[in-house]
Structure formats: structure tokens, C-alpha cells
Amino acid sequence: MNGWVNYVLSLCVCLLVVGMPRAATIKVGKQHAVHTITKALELAADGDTIQVDGGVYREGNIGIRKRLMLVGVGNPVIDGEQKYEPVSVHAPYVVIKGFTICRSGHSSMKDMAGVKIYDTHHVMITDNVLDDNFFGIYLQNARNCTIRNNRLVAYGKAEQLIGNGIHGWKCDRLDIAGNTITGHRDGIYLEFVTHTDVQGNQSHRNVRYGLHFMFSHDNGYYRNTFTGNGAGVAVMYTKHVRMEHNVFNENWGDAAYGLLLKEITDSHIADNTFAKNTTGILMEGSNRIRIQRNRFENNGWALKIQASCMDNTVTRNNFIHNTFDVATNGSLVLNTFERNYWDKYEGYDLDNDKEGDVPYRPVSLYSMVVEKYPMAMLLFRSFMVTLLDRTERVLPSLTPENLKDDYPLMQPVAL
């Protein structure tokens, strides 16, 4: 019996020893033999780990073409000197962790990024700081990559002078989570990206959109916060999107939207919070979207739903203290509003089933007027206007007949 255990043990040791040389660790730093990351990359073989000590590394472009793990210890800085692309990844299974990557070159011809991933898969970029880069992390034709817990800061002044924070082009199965992005053009931009989860990111004060995607089907966006971006969040030409538990707030301006949906179909928007936006959601040419259990609070317009939308369902949402609840631009209504809580509802509930007995019409006459003559906002809440609105509530003539909630809730939905 004892011999058998010995046999297994020695076999294990042998296997371990055989495996060892494949995972060497090369240390880079002032007190080590290797002073530059480029040199270490030359020395390394597939599967090695390069451990980089604190300090500033100015090495132009660092191209990674082997399956390596780059780990920063004591916050090493890779400086692009505003001329180069600091890190380019060409190989699969690369891990980059614990670096500060800063000052990439600015080029509209080459789209330089702090870290750019070219045509590969299973790359992991975690726990880095990307400071003052043109694009932050750029994924080009990549699969199964993970971008986690990075902090991206840029100082963009105008849209055309700065790139996006996390930019994905023609990718599949990405995992983008826990990143903080500020001052880029779009916080997160995805184009032709599929089966991707975007979770727990913070996108604040970017020059254009907090989140922007196009032609990116079957993606999910959960628990992200988009605050104070130049034009809010805009998503376009996409099918099968899930947006849940996100916060869209303080997107202020004429063309700023908490969430702009353009040609989005078969999607779910649930449990989100839209607060203090000029427009909470604007829907254009969007079909078969389920909007449920969201909170709309203190928005100028909670929901603008254009006549080009059909078969959408708006149910069990709370509309609280918005200037206008719903606005539209035509009389055709092909959407369903049901069982929402509207704080402006003035009906009664005689049968005590917690649903109002008279329908609520969320479109006020004056919101139609303001839609057509924006200057009319000047007279909002004046006695004349209140009178007009009251009359219209009693005898709807200009507001769409069918846009109504037949079962408005008497109490806010518990969320």
C-alpha cells in the first residue's frame, strides 16, 4: 500500500518538474537583470509570466505576440509619450494586470489606443489605470475577452479630438465589468459585437454618449451607471438586447437622452432608474420592446414614444414627478400602456382592486404643443395652460385617443 502512494507521489513530482520550465517568471525592473519590458518579451516563451516592478517605462510600442501574463507590481507606468500606442496585443491568452498605461498618441488614421487587441481571443485586461489615452481599450475582431475593473480617464474637449473608452468592433463574447470611464468620447462603444455582457460599469461625464452600440445583437447590460454624459446613452439598429438594473441620470440638454432607442427590436428594459434627464427614454422606430418595472423620476419628459414605434409594452413602471409623463408626435398609437403608477393620476378606485377605475391619459395637451412649438415651454404652468390641459383631459381632441392606461395603479409599484 505504502509503495503505491510513493509511486503516485513521485509521479506527481515528476509531472510538476516537467511542467515547471513552461511557466518561468521574468522579473523586470531597475534592480533586476532585465530592465525593459521589450527585452523581457524577447526572452519569454509562451506561458511565461513577466513581472514588472514600479517605475516609468518609455519603450514606444510594446507588441505582445506570445501567450504571456504581464503583471505589474507597485503600479508600473507604461508611457506612450503621446506618440506611440503603448500596448498592442496580437496573441491569445494574454493577461495584463496592474499597470498604469498613459499618454498614447492621438491619430485619427490609426485609431491608437492605450491597449489595443488585434484579431485574437481570451485576452484579459484587469485592474489597470488608463490615463489620457486617445482610445482606452480597443478590441478589434476579438473573441472571449475580459475587461474588468479598469479605470479609464481622458480629458476630451471635443468629440473629434478624443476616442472611446472601451471600444469593441466586430467582437464576440466579451465580458466588460466593473470599469469606470470618464472624459472619453463614448464611454463604451460597441459595433458588430455579439453575446456580450456589460456589467457594473460606471460611465460618467463623457463627451458624447455614456454607452453607444450599433448592430450589436444578443447583448446584456446590467447594473451600470450612466451619469452626466454629453448626450446620455444612444443605442441603435440592434435586436435582442437586455437592459436591467441600470441607472441613467442627469443627462441634460436638447439632444441629450437618458436612453435613446433607435431601431431596437425584441428587447427588454427592466428595473432601471431614469432620473433627472431632459428626456428619460426616446423611442424611434423601435418594436416589440418590453419596458417594465422602471422608475422614471424628475425627468423633463419621462418617455417620448414616436409614432414610428409599435407593439411595445409599458407596464408596471413608476412615473413620479416628471414634468411630462409621455409625449408622442402623432395620433397613431400601436403600443400598450398598462398597470403603471402615474403620480399625476386623479382618478378613484371604488372597487378597491388597487387599480384606478377611469383610464389615465399620460399625454397632456401641452406636451403636444411643446413638441411642436418648443418656445411654448415659456408659458408652462400658467393658468391659461393649466386650463387648456384640464379641458383636454375632459374632452380629448388633440391628444391621441388610444394612448391611455386603462388600469393605472393607485400605489407605486414596489421596486
Partner: protein, 255 residues
């Protein structure tokens, strides 16, 4: 001068109308705030009451008071007192009484229930409207000798400021919507102190909506310090100018 002011204020504060006015405002504000679930909504509901009731009461009450104290004024004029001293004293007395009534009736509930930027703006605007419409009432009474006609003129003036002006603005807005009328509209709203106050409060209450297309123009004007200074100046002018006209007329008037 101080003596006359003291006398006028004492006389006014004892008057039943002022007490009822204060009590009604207080009851309205408290009930509005306890009915609405959020302070913001309370301010919005109160906004319409303030913009409607405060000018009406300030205007009508001052007019009636002045006509009723015509003999008292005659008596004062027969004394060795300057006419502008008498008139200023009466104005100060009325202004203090009206704004005090407003501050007690609306100010205290606002401080208790909604001590927010919008609440404070509502208080300031209400107080300013009290002063402005006392001043307008002085002008109206000094121009018209007959009491019935004078009160009629006050009511007409109130109708104009509270309703007709907005109707005219709405009409102009629809008629000239194809032209760049934004700045003109802002200027036009300055011609009515009720509108000016309403926009000031709106910028606090509906801040999100006001950040939109038109909001940009409003904010550029009302939101900046310079714009605020201009607005405040306009409201002060609305107080001073009618009063100044009335004092000029009162000095020459054959009582």
C-alpha cells in the same frame, strides 16, 4: 414719516381682511403640503395659488384701503407734511403689511415642509409680487377718483396680468413660431411680473425639462448671475416705477 408708517401698519394689521388673508394662505399651504407626498409637488400646487391669489388680494385690498382712507389722507395733507412723505409712508405701510401676511401664511409652511431652492424661490417671488401689486394699486387709485371705477380698474389690471397677457403671448407664439423669437419672448415675459416670477420658479421646479431646447435660452438668461441680476432689477423696477408715477401724480393732485 415713521409715525405715519407705524400708524398705517398698526391699522392694517388690525384689519380683519389681512388676518383672514393670512389664515387662508396658511391653511391652503399646510393642507397642500400635507396632501402631496413630495415637497416638490407641493411647491408646484402652491405655485398656481401664489401666482393667482397674491396679486389679486394685494391689488384689490390696497385699492379698497386707499379709497376708504381718502379722508385720512386729506387730513394728513392739511398738516405741515410733505406730500411725498405721506405717500411713501402709506406705500411702505401697505407693502410691509401685505408681504408680512404672505410670509406668515406661505413662508412658514414652506420653511417647515419644503425648505428647498424651489421653496425659497416661491417665497421670494410671492413677496416681490405683493410689493409690485401694492405699487400698481397706488397708481390705479391715484389716477381714478371714483371708488367703483377705481376698483374696476384694479380688477381689469389683475385680469390682464393673470390671464390676458398669457393668452396674447400664446397667440404671438403660435403666429410667429417660424421666426427666431426666443429672445423676444424672454423680453416679452419681462413685461409681466407674474410671468417673470413663474419662469423663475419653473427653472427650479422643472429643471430637467427646462434644460431642453428652450431651456438652453432660458438658462442662458435666467440661469446666469447676470440674468438673475437683470431679472431682480426688472422686478424692482416693477415695484418702483408704478409707485414713482403715482407719487408724481399725487403731488400735483387736487384732492
Amino acid at each position: 414719516m415713521n409715525k405715519i408708517i407705524k400708524y398705517v401698519i398698526a391699522d392694517l394689521l388690525r384689519s380683519r381682511t389681512i388676518m383672514v388673508y393670512t389664515a387662508v394662505l396658511a391653511v391652503l399651504s399646510v393642507s397642500v403640503f400635507s396632501m402631496e407626498d413630495s415637497a416638490g409637488k407641493g411647491v408646484v400646487s402652491l405655485l398656481n395659488i401664489v401666482l393667482f391669489v397674491v396679486p389679486l388680494v394685494s391689488l384689490l385690498f390696497s385699492t379698497v384701503y386707499l379709497y376708504n382712507s381718502a379722508e385720512f389722507i386729506e387730513l394728513l395733507v392739511s398738516q405741515p407734511l410733505r406730500r411725498d412723505t405721506i405717500w411713501i409712508s402709506i406705500f411702505v405701510g401697505l407693502a410691509v403689511a401685505m408681504s408680512l401676511a404672505f410670509m406668515v401664511g406661505v413662508g412658514i409652511p414652506v420653511v417647515l415642509y419644503a425648505a428647498t431652492a424651489s421653496g425659497v424661490m416661491l417665497m421670494l417671488c410671492g413677496a416681490a409680487l405683493s410689493l409690485i401689486f401694492v405699487s400698481v394699486a397706488l397708481w390705479a387709485t391715484v389716477r381714478v377718483r371714483d371708488k367703483a371705477r377705481g376698483i374696476g380698474l384694479s380688477i381689469l389690471l389683475w385680469l390682464y396680468f393673470a390671464l390676458l397677457f398669457d393668452a396674447v403671448v400664446l397667440f404671438l407664439l403660435f403666429q410667429f413660431s417660424d421666426y427666431p423669437i426666443e429672445n423676444g419672448m424672454v423680453a416679452l415675459s419681462m413685461l409681466n411680473p407674474i410671468d417673470t416670477s413663474r419662469i423663475l420658479i419653473l427653472l427650479q421646479v422643472d429643471v430637467s425639462a427646462m434644460m431642453g431646447y428652450t431651456g438652453a435660452i432660458f438658462r442662458k438668461f435666467f440661469g446666469t448671475d447676470g440674468g438673475m441680476a437683470i431679472t431682480a432689477t426688472i422686478l424692482v423696477l416693477w415695484t418702483v416705477l408704478p409707485f414713482w408715477f403715482s407719487i408724481r401724480f399725487f403731488k400735483r393732485k387736487d384732492l
